[in-house]
Amino acid sequence: MTNNLLFDFTVDKAAKTVYITREFDAEQSLVWDAFTKAELIDQWIAPKPMTAKTKYQDFKVGGKRFYAMISPEGQERWAIQEYTSITPKTNFKMFNVFADKDENPEPHGSEWDHNFSEQNGITTVNISIYNESLERMEKILDGFTRGMKMSLSNLENLLATLSKK
């Protein structure tokens, strides 16, 4: 897929906020669905080789999505998203916090704000993520890279076994 779609990623360390802007070659209502319907979110939110699964979702203000990111080894990292504001098709805000498998949240979380707009069939999404602690961000990343590294070392083992034959 040729990709001339804008992607901007900046981190304001002082404000503990990550700003992400991305264009999508689709109309706004489709992009809105992809960001707000669990069965669609689960298809893209976990960077491969990770996968995502949603246990339940109630998309309304005060409602939640309880989901897990799963490493290739089957390790589950649970989190809760609580919707704090919804303006259909244009904006939604949520509070994201890690949790155990029984839905007990960890003390710190992050505040997410999503804005959607469309021009000439291209939808722009602006996301800002405010982290109460940057250490927490570091932890998120650590989880991801560990997942990736594990699957890479699996591949290495597999290749080593194959080359011995």
Partner: protein
């Protein structure tokens, strides 16, 4: 004492100090001359930056010179770059999901 490296650079004065000494090693007095603040306050910032291993001290005679640990700064860039890549991967996946959705709509 180990500090969070991101806490170190969350302060605007400390970021300004980093920018200054990135150009050349400087003494605390020379650094303080660039700020409308006390020498003590600059020393405090330098201590935090040193504890984070973002800056290193070198003695030349009786003077202490502070300079930037370039490798430590690169660590931050690398860390952010990985974070950026995660989002890139995510959005590439989303592009595919959207194109499937478009086809189904037709």
């Amino acid at each position: 004492m180990r500090r969070d490296i991101f806490q170190a650079i969350a302060d605007p004065t400390r970021r300004a100090i980093i920018t200054l000494i990135a150009l050349q090693a400087m003494t605390p007095n020379a650094i303080a001359d660039n700020f409308h603040t006390t020498r003590q306050s600059v020393s405090k910032h330098l201590r935090i930056l040193t504890e984070c291993e973002l800056v290193k001290q070198e003695y030349q005679g009786r003077e202490i010179y502070y300079s930037l640990e370039i490798n430590k700064m690169k660590e931050i860039d690398k860390w952010l770059d990985q974070f950026r890549k995660i989002w890139e991967t995510r959005f590439d996946q989303l592009d595919k999901v959207l194109s499937t959705m478009k086809k189904q709509k037709k």
